[in-house]
Symmetry: C2
Subunit: 408 residues, 2 copies
């Protein structure tokens, strides 16, 4: 019996089952039904279909539970090899390529140092095609199909038109990029802001299930933000909303990488912290324009060890960050603000000044009940989120492809 | 034949017809159908129902059109007396009560000077009950029914729970107000932020039909904002989003009415302009804490006449406003920002500095294509918007009530 893809309820239920298996790992049929409000009979029928199509597998029944009661349940899980997606993260002078399996796990990751800032549009296109081709040649034989590609980019992108509008990683503006990659690799290409990828990853976590209005701030070389409103990414009229790094702390203040003055980024990003520190503190040698992780860790360590100059620098950054967050609270009134990104390494040294600044800036009614939390950074988080988004965007197509392949 | 209110398509079509008649005035049946994608037969049936229920009336056929061609069309229009709503606007030391008819037009308006800042919760409740009772006693006999009440309040409200969370007009916090009024007047009560009422009025205008992401900034004694995302008011997690007036221009800057420093309101509101002017310029006498319209017009006139001190004051206000709008552009990326409110009287004197500040603050990619426009202020705009929202919220109930009344 072919999966009746014209039946939208059936399709929605099938997609919900796949998503649950991806987020929760192996699950028993009965729990899949309960988690998604689907009848046991429907779950049985959907899982039979998915088994036939090779999209899920059964796990041998688990041994008796510790309680010793109840019959052991057969768990079902996604077949990791049913499909893969490639996530490419484009940042300043570096691209990361990650292959994610159908279960959403990273199967391969590689980094390349590339002078991104001087690339022409053609060179960028050729570079991405070449790197993705290489990774496909090496990895694709382990999978049934390449379901899609996610391109995660710092800066302003139009996901709708597949165009990078403005990125600190590029010297270019308005680069249409999705269409040529889609044509070259015969799959759908999702262009996303890097902070939106992180937000997607975090919002799927049970700890944040009660926070549909979520703001994620990414500290690092630059400063990014993602805003989820009722669980959906908010991108504004043209994709350039949530540009927190370039919202203002101080008119005519410190010079920002964007060329304007007084942006939050010009105080609380890695390059701003490094710039404030370099003439006063002894840090490991490196490229002054792009401080290394080692240099930034050395600076953070100085602050942690009580060096007054390093503490002053982080405190100033924390104050700018706090004033910026105060504006976010006044304008977005979110349930939760999560601060992450590689720059979160220095968050403890900024935290007190950040909270003071928020209290100084806003009456308590406007701070409200919004929680402000940090989240430990893992450099694979962007690609993990990008993989999840690319899989989610392509699940319906994967279903159709596996059905066609089975019928052929 | 009773209107089958259980048929949701029929109900939706009927509500759409009523809304179109309210927004456009008298319309021919054929145009009503075309505007709402409803078949001529359905429009005929719906309008027959509405005629029987007394909710619409027919206009005698118009004389021949100027072209002389075509048969004159019978127009239908809402019966203004089918229902009324009362909108109460609560601002600092003043309440305005307006009665709107079923066609959305103002039929009566009155103002009362009241010391709002010192009212207890009980006294506020009694005051509103007394004023609404008085207006009902005087006006209600002209209408079939009181459909609802809209309470339009400056500040942060929870429409959901009917609670005024924080308003500059009150010395109180967290005042539940809707429930007692609903019980007293046996009708639904809508509690709304005043800027949302204005935004509702503006967004219905054909000129803004292509701007689903709309920001309305209200300049006046205080500064308010409403944000529409895809045409829907954005209120945040607890109703306190879009508090533009208390977003920041300058850390540790000028004192704001909220008690904090450096808010946009502390530079660009009426009280801030007056405060900056009062020791340097000769203005008509008045209450220094709450500058009068006459005083503010005198100050605006000085700037228009080229008085350098008045020009400097407006220019500084424009700069603060511009930096605030820059943050709104970076964070919300709207299609359009409309500046209105009584303070728009001084907008011409702020405009150049505002645009300079925006250009100084943001790279062109983040300014994008967002239009920034002013809109001439009319002191009835808040209540016009409140009336429209209250009517829209109660149309289904009005339909049901008229059906019940006709059957009785």
């Amino acid at each position: 019996m072919a999966l009746p893809l014209t039946d939208t309820t059936r399709l929605d239920n099938t997609l919900a089952v796949i998503r649950t298996l991806r987020e929760q790992g192996p699950v028993a049929r009965i729990d899949l039904g309960a988690l998604n409000g689907i009848s046991p009979a429907t779950v049985t029928s959907i899982s039979a279909e998915l088994l036939q199509q090779g999209l899920i597998t059964e796990r041998p029944p688990e041994t008796l539970r510790p309680s010793g009661r109840g019959r052991p349940k057969t768990l079902i899980e996604l077949s990791p090899t049913a499909a893969c997606v490639v996530c490419v993260k484009l940042s300043i002078n570096e691209i990361q390529l990650v292959v994610g399996d159908f279960a959403g796990q990273i199967r391969h990751s590689e980094y390349h140092t590339v002078p991104t800032l001087t690339l022409s549009a053609n060179a960028l296109e050729r570079l991405l095609e070449e790197k993705i081709s290489a990774v496909c040649a090496q990895q694709l034989q382990s999978f049934q199909r390449l379901a899609g590609i996610c391109l995660a980019v710092q800066g302003v992108v139009s996901s709708h038109s597949g165009t990078i509008i403005w990125s600190p990683a590029l010297g270019l503006r308005n680069v249409p990029i999705s269409a040529c990659l889609a044509e070259r690799f015969h799959c759908s290409v999702l262009l996303e802001n890097d902070a939106n990828c992180i937000a997607n990853l975090l919002t799927a976590q049970p700890a944040y299930a009660d926070c549909p209005n979520l703001v994620v701030i990414m500290l690092g070389y630059g400063i990014g933000m993602s805003v989820l409103i009722n669980g959906e990414p908010f991108v504004g009229a043209n994709g350039s909303a949530a540009e927190f790094g370039h919202s203002k702390y101080l008119p005519n203040g410190a010079l920002c990488a964007c060329g304007r003055r007084g942006c939050i980024e010009a105080y609380a990003s890695d390059y701003a912290l490094y710039r404030a520190a370099v003439n006063h503190l002894e840090l490991p040698p490196g490229d002054s324009a792009h401080p290394s992780e080692q240099q930034m860790q050395a600076l953070t360590q100085l602050a942690q060890q009580g060096n007054p100059e390093a503490q002053r620098i982080y405190s100033e950054a924390g104050q700018a960050l706090g004033y910026g967050i105060a504006n976010v609270l006044a304008l977005f009134n979110p349930d939760l603000v999560i601060i992450t990104g590689s720059g979160v390494r220095g968050f403890d040294a900024m935290k007190a000044a950040m909270h003071s600044a928020i209290d100084e800036a806003l009456v308590t009614e406007l701070i409200g009940n919004t929680r402000i939390e940090s989240y430990a950074w893992d450099r694979d988080m962007t690609c993990m989120g990008g993989i999840a988004m690319a899989l989610h965007a392509t699940d319906a197509q994967t279903l159709l492809d596996s059905q066609t392949a089975r019928e052929a």
